[in-house]
Amino acid sequence: MTTATADPQQRRIEPPRTDLSEAGKKYARRKALRPFLVLAPSFLLTIGILIPFIVAIFYSFTDLTLRSSDFNLIGFGNFVDTLTSPDFWRSLSITLQYAFWATGVEMVLGLGIALLLNEENWLSKFLRLVLIFPLMIAPVIGALVWQLMTNPSVGILRFPLSWIGLGGFRWSADPNFALFSVLLIDVWIYTPFVVILALAGLRSLPKSPYEAALIDGGSAWFVFRNLTLPMLAPVLLVAMIFRLMTSLQEFAIIFASTKGGPGDKTLSIALAAYNQAFPFYNLSGSIPMLLFLWALIYAVCFVLIGFWRKAQKLSSGAV
């Protein structure tokens, strides 16, 4: 969270990348301050989030509970407690598995579906309208509906499962398949998120490179690998960054479907922190976990943004 504050006199703008005419350069110079003016409203609107964030960090050094408003400074005690607890590391492992599989499956599936939907036949045209609907159901309700469908005694899915000999499959009640069952709900809800972004990217691709490739007779795979994917990479990376951020923090889906169970098989960091803060009122004890999660997301995004910049240069520069 760094903000560069440069001396206004030193701020300068160059006409982006291409050589513009003299008039263009003069125009650009005259508008040297514009980017900052244009950015200011959105920045001022959101910068306030830093205040609660800093307050939360302060609380992590106290023994604040939700029972009373009195608290004492206790230094790094909460951090030591968290980092020495095996439960925390187990939650971290579950969080990482969850985010990896959710993001991975959604990216591959979402891109594939977007490519199929980008064709101009009646089926694709129709499904473009309706396949994004799962995203519109509130995640808590989506999770509830899946719980109901997968209920071993009354759920509708017991019929098709018994036809293929899996009649006793217990979905999220089975410790070995609990994470899988929750991931399935995540994939159901959030794959359309990737589909929407990938479709928007596909829809705005330039036509001319494809015409050239058609003349050269490149195979479909060659065109995808060397044209579509590099040009789509920036928007796919943005989709991936947002999916990773939210799946690392995912709370609603897991809470509504398993509450972290059975046992602690789906107890991710967000769930563990919630359990600390609410049933046990140990508010300050829950914050170090969440700060650790914050740092993890920061690091992951820092790396991915680096990839994004490279991909963006490649796609908007010379292809």
Binding site: T3, P134, V154, A200, P234, F251
Partner: protein, 277 residues
């Protein structure tokens, strides 16, 4: 892209269709099932599957439940205002990040993204205390403001890439031809980034609409959104699944209508050589 004349074409397109239909089954069956549940009477909820006596009782129950329509309206107001505000300040910001080179640009862009790093439950309690002091609890302004955390980072980061893809030559040429910056922006640049703009706007609306944590804790009697009030149907001792399904479908309806309305704009406005590459 088009496998006409390819001997594998027929088999390929058949395989594609099958894959698409399999995914469609996965994506749409739970919704269809919700639709069925919403028309089922309580006593047949788990005794029948597809054949039952349909009833509108669930919908009647949802609407007679105190002020469900009112919370739907609240959600519409808050989500629309939040998205409009995000578009007003976010599109220019994305433009600035996509088109200008200036010192600290990447830091600012990363800071925007970093607003999404903190888990909602980490900031919600301090935020609640701050909102209490500012008298923003249970106010439309307060919710619209906090929703910017949901929508602005997404909007800015999606659109930024779309702006960067546009050739700067055209913009400069249009300005040399005497068009003002505003004319260039509205008549040329916006139509060119339209697919990104529409997709980002739709996603922002969906995420604001479905936001639960912020709406639950920072909202209240006057601003309760339908996403929060829907949970009432879950909280009672016996869950009436038919009510939940009916409420969830009604709640999703505005999003679906919006998606259908803007679908045709998911195509670029004009495209003659305006994109680099």
């Amino acid at each position: 892209m088009n496998p006409n004349g390819n001997p594998l074409g027929m088999a390929g397109s058949l395989a594609k269709t099958i894959l698409l239909l399999l995914y469609a089954l996965f994506a749409l069956f739970p919704l269809l099932w919700m639709l069925i549940l919403s028309f089922k009477p309580d006593n047949e909820m788990f005794t029948t599957t597809f054949f039952f006596t349909p009833t509108l009782e669930n919908f009647r129950a949802v609407f007679s439940e105190s002020d469900f329509l009112g919370t739907l309206w609240n959600n519409l107001v808050v989500s629309c205002l939040a998205v409009v505000l995000s578009l007003l300040v976010g599109v220019p910001a994305a433009y600035a990040l996509g088109r200008f080179d200036f010192k600290g640009k990447e830091d600012i862009a990363f800071t925007f993204l970093s607003f999404k790093f903190a888990p909602e439950i980490l900031v919600i309690i301090p935020l609640y205390l701050i909102y209490q002091n500012l008298h923003l609890i249970d106010s439309t302004v307060g919710l619209v403001w906090v929703y910017q955390l949901i929508s602005l980072p997404l909007l800015i980061w999606i659109l930024r890439g779309f702006f960067e893809d546009l050739s700067t030559d055209m913009e400069a040429a249009a300005q040399l031809d005497g068009y003002t910056w505003w004319q260039v922006f509205f008549k040329m640049l916006l139509p060119l980034v339209k697919p990104g703009l529409v997709a980002a706007g739709l996603l922002c609306f969906i995420f604001c609409w479905n936001s639960f944590t912020f709406a639950l804790l920072l909202g209240g009697g006057h601003t309760q959104t339908s996403t929060v009030s829907m949970m009432r149907f879950l909280a009672s001792d016996t869950v009436h699944y038919g009510w939940v399904a009916a409420a969830a479908l009604i709640c999703a309806l505005p999003e679906m209508i919006l998606a259908l309305l803007i679908q045709k704009h998911l195509v670029r406005g004009l495209s003659f050589g305006a994109v680099k590459g």
